[in-house]
């Protein structure tokens, strides 16, 4: 069920009414029932069984971990952790990466001139498998490290892993953060529900008014790279980054807003990433929960591991202190970035474009930082000024846009070919009306431009204070006027309904 569909809105409103109609102590049961119903409405039965298997495994293993820790039996706890991770990650690997693996093995067999090909499996996945697997693995690790309580109740575990607002698109939650909110009875809070609904409307605006229009332009250009060359390609790259942002962050606004209406505050996933001054900062503001998860559960685990400590020792002995500090860190981050790439999909374009590209940028920027500082000092550039900040943000935007071209264009070859087509100077497309042939007429382009200006304005205001808090402080007529205008803008300019095939959520495939 798409988050921007009429059935979802109806489903949400009914669930909200029921949620606050049942006694407070049973409200988590209502959430569980609606989450189960949401899954049934969103997916065929077989993939749901995979999800149910993951829930059963997580609940059982977490209880075994707790029992092992209580009995001082470290081996039992470790075994349960390993089994839990193996089962959940194994399911994810089987469902999402078996096809990628088989295709690569076939390529290898062909290279070795072996006349045998593996069948390429394409199993159906339950919704949000990549998201809930990370949630489940984090929960198991936290249980093992003793920093999270263990939930013995199977239904409560199922609600934690399958809480429907976050199921399809995240954010990736930690049990210790969400447990008190999911299972503690909530009273109806008018202001909180209003805030939640306002955020949902803003999410619909991003998704239906902006992302859908951006998608039309991007699709038109990338569908015919032989026709749209030169600056069209780079325009599409920039627009796609905006599309990805408005699509993903719009969905997050809907998810977080819906959850807020139930009284459950989910962690933020975006924090105005286009104002970042470096690629590293960009990834601290973009898909925050994924980055934090990989940092906490993969990077830190690697750096604390025996193998990494051994590597540090070896580097210190053979390469010096500085290298001993840098080499293990860069290798660790390389693993993390490869995983980020792989998480985005079983394809080399993801591993190279979303993983290695950003790793390379961050590593190079860190290695060259002393050089950059010297150059800035030599050139006497005022790094505290707005102009420098703007330059840095534009630079990050451009680098991220290039990386996301790999994400958007299916296949490494296609991405490189398209980039090659971009090596053509045709600035006249911005003045001769060519842009009007990309699927949007002038009125729609105006809507898009004004919408993007509004988006940047709201993002800028958000940097210092919550926009909803700002709004709540305004006099009632002004507040209502703004909210009514936003609602009407979504209703009128949104690309939804029978005449539109609203673009599906880009991150839904994960």
């Amino acid at each position: 069920m798409s988050l921007t569909s009429f059935p979802f809105i109806a489903f949400f409103l009914v669930s909200l009414a029921v949620y606050y109609a049942v006694p407070e102590r049973l409200r988590w049961c209502a959430l569980f029932a609606f989450s189960a119903l949401f899954m049934l409405l969103s997916s065929p039965l077989l993939p749901l069984l995979y999800w149910a298997a993951a829930v059963l495994a997580v609940n059982f293993c977490a209880r075994q971990i707790a029992a092992g820790r209580a009995a001082g039996n470290g081996r039992r706890a470790k075994g349960a952790l390993a089994a839990g991770i193996l089962l959940t990650v194994g399911l994810l690997a089987a469902l999402k990466y078996s096809g990628f693996l088989a295709a690569n093995l076939n390529a290898l067999l062909a290279l070795l001139r072996v006349d045998y090909r593996l069948p390429i499996p394409a199993p159906a996945s339950p919704p949000g498998v990549s998201f809930y697997t990370l949630t489940a693995v984090g929960y198991l690790l936290d249980s093992y490290w003793g920093i999270s309580p263990v939930q013995p109740n199977l239904l409560k575990t199922a609600l934690f892993i399958g809480y429907y607002p976050q199921l399809i698109s995240g954010p990736i939650t930690r049990y210790r953060q969400i447990e008190p909110q999911l299972f503690t009875p909530h009273r109806f809070d008018y202001v909180q529900v209003c805030f939640g609904l306002q955020r949902m409307v803003w999410g619909f605006f991003k998704k239906l008014v902006l992302s859908a229009r951006l998608g039309i332009l991007v699709d038109t250009i990338y569908a015919h790279p032989e026709r749209y060359t030169g600056l069209y390609i780079w325009l599409a790259a920039a627009l796609f980054l905006f599309q990805l942002y408005t699509d993903f962050s719009g969905c997050m606004d809907i998810v977080l807003g819906a959850s807020e209406c139930y009284g459950v505050l989910l962690p933020e996933n975006f924090k105005t990433p286009f104002f970042s001054r470096s690629v590293q900062e960009y990834w601290q503001r973009w898909h925050i929960t994924l980055g934090a998860w990989l940092r906490d559960y993969i990077l830190y685990s690697l750096l604390r591991s025996r193998a990494w400590r051994g590597l540090t020792k070896w580097a210190k002995a053979h390469l010096g202190k500085k290298a001993a500090r840098q080499l293990p860190t860069y290798l660790g981050t390389l693993c993390v970035w490869l995983l980020i790439g792989l998480w985005h999909g079983g394809g080399w374009q993801y591993i190279l474009g979303m993983g290695l590209w950003f790793w390379l940028l961050i590593t190079l920027s860190q290695l060259c930082e002393p050089l950059f500082k010297k150059a800035l000092a030599f050139l006497k550039i005022n790094t505290a000024g707005f102009a420098w900040h703007l330059f840095q943000s534009l630079r990050v935007f451009a680098l991220a846009a290039v990386g996301n071209m790999f994400f958007r264009l299916q296949g490494l070859g296609a991405a490189l070919e398209t980039m090659r087509a971009g090596l053509h100077w045709n600035p006249e497309i911005f003045t001769d009306g060519s842009l009007l042939s990309l699927g949007l007429d002038l009125k729609n382009i105006w809507v898009l431009l004004l919408g993007l200006v509004l988006l940047l304005l709201v993002s800028w205001l958000q940097e210092t204070k919550s926009i909803r808090q700002r709004l709540a402080e305004q006099p009632l007529p002004l507040r209502w006027a703004i909210l009514l205008l936003l609602c009407l803008a979504v209703a009128l300019f949104g690309m939804y309904g029978p005449e539109f095939n609203a673009a599906t959520f880009i991150y839904e495939q994960f």
């Binding site: 059935p7 009407l488 209703a491 009128l492 300019f493």
Partner: protein
């Protein structure tokens, strides 16, 4: 405090709905509003005031002109139609019409029997319905194969479709509707202005196709049996392909066998005086000229067959007379007064071969004599204005000079031959497009 919050929330919601309602009104104007009105305006007619409702798709409203039917025979037969109306919706429309007009005859157009269901058709067929259980069943029936029950509920909110037309809103859309025309088509102008020669696509036959009739027809007949409703099934004249005609023959025979009335106008092209070269918009629709002829024929047939009383001059039906006057204003730029006024016709007189030379203000008209003509009427129109009669000439006249036109203003001429019957002129065929000059 809680009460205050509740009042605020309700006030905000009401304000939002009001604004959305205004937007919906503005967005559904013109062609959408016309489709909406065909179904919605039936609720506005005084209860029991309609003789009949005519159910069907665009071939119905392009062919049947209720104000003209009233002017000719004094009958009140409302267009209960919309573009792309699925045949499946007929039984729901019957039930809806009966709520307000229980004694009205239900006329069911057969020409959309094989058209299937389209998204557009569902919208147009459901938008004008007031919320009811019948509407719910209709939406479910029409959307059953396309959408889940939850998804199909979007058809309860027409705004979901029409919002895509935001870029087309003009100040005119916010003005309330023009004069009532009792279901006459006024907005879909291409049915007025377009003329296509359909002589090559006409393939009438009495033969009937093999095979089963469509399930949707059997379903409707079963429904009529069950509800004891006696509709009239009508096939409008259409120059259609062989397969279509034979299928319709088969299905009309089935309807007759089931004991229901059928009026087959498919084979009555000549009887109706229809000119295949000029009276059709395309193979499925007549244009305004053909529509006037079909309406005159069908109105007389209905009045006689069903004994509908002549309501002309009845004060209770003054709005119908007014509707005709309103309607004439809409169709006058496309038709001659002899058509919309219903003057006597003699379709045996062919279209004269008219030639025009000179320029506006000094135009010379010449033509070949038309066999059987007792005289000729000269008409002129300037730009997109209405046709104006210039002169009535004797049979010997083969030339006419017009110096009354304004120089520099493009105008068009047409010539109408007429015969005499009991001293009164009977007007023959003429060139609807006319011959331009300047």
């Amino acid at each position: 405090m809680r009460k205050l919050y509740l009042v605020r929330a309700l006030a905000f919601l009401l304000l939002l709905l009001l604004l959305l309602g205004c937007l919906q009104y503005a967005l559904t104007r013109s062609i959408d509003q016309q489709n909406y009105n065909w179904l919605a305006n039936i609720y506005k007619e005084p209860a029991g005031s309609l003789d009949a409702v005519y159910i069907g798709a665009s071939n119905v409203y392009s062919t049947w002109l209720p104000p003209v039917a009233f002017d000719r025979c004094g009958i009140t037969v409302y267009n209960y139609t919309n573009s792309s109306q699925p045949f499946e919706s007929a039984r729901f429309l019957i039930l809806e019409a009966q709520k307000r007009h229980p004694d009205a005859l239900c006329i069911i157009g057969l020409n959309n029997l094989y058209d299937g269901i389209s998204d557009l058709g569902i919208h147009y067929s459901t938008n004008g319905f007031r919320p009811s259980v019948n509407k719910f069943h209709m939406i479910r029936r029409l959307t059953g194969s396309l959408y889940t029950p939850l998804e199909s509920m979007q058809y309860f909110v027409p705004f979901l479709r029409f919002h895509s037309r935001w870029a087309d809103i003009s100040p005119r859309d916010l003005v309330f509707s023009d004069g009532d025309v009792k279901g006459g088509n006024v907005e879909i102008k291409y049915f007025f202005s377009t003329i296509q020669d359909m002589t090559s696509s006409y393939s009438y036959t009495m033969e009937a196709a093999e095979g089963e009739s469509p399930g949707v027809l059997l379903e409707l007949l079963d429904f009529c049996d069950r509800e004891q409703i006696r509709p009239l099934f009508v096939a409008s004249p259409q120059p259609r392909e062989w397969d279509y005609v034979t299928s319709l023959n088969r299905d009309m025979e089935l309807i007759r066998q089931r004991g229901y009335d059928v009026l087959d106008m498919m084979g009555s092209i000549e009887e109706l005086g229809l000119d295949l070269r000029q009276d059709f918009y395309n193979s499925s629709h007549t244009n305004i000229h053909g529509a006037i002829k079909v309406t005159e024929y069908l109105a007389a047939w209905l009045a006689e067959r069903y004994g509908f009383s002549d309501k002309r001059g009845d004060a209770a039906y003054a709005d119908w007379q007014q509707a005709f006057e309103n309607y004439v204003e809409d169709i006058a730029p496309y038709t001659l007064d002899l058509e919309y006024l219903g003057l006597a016709r003699d379709f045996s007189l062919p279209v004269p071969a008219l030639a025009v030379s000179g320029a506006p203000g000094a135009a010379q008209l010449s033509w070949e004599p038309v066999p059987g003509a007792a005289g000729y009427c000269v008409y002129r129109k300037t730009g997109d204005g209405p046709w104006q009669a210039l002169a009535s000439l004797g049979p010997e006249a083969l030339l006419y000079e017009d110096e009354s036109g304004a120089p520099g203003e493009g105008c068009t001429y047409t010539l109408v031959p007429f015969s005499l019957s009991s001293g009164e002129p009977c007007y023959g065929n003429f060139d609807y497009t006319g011959v331009p000059v300047g």
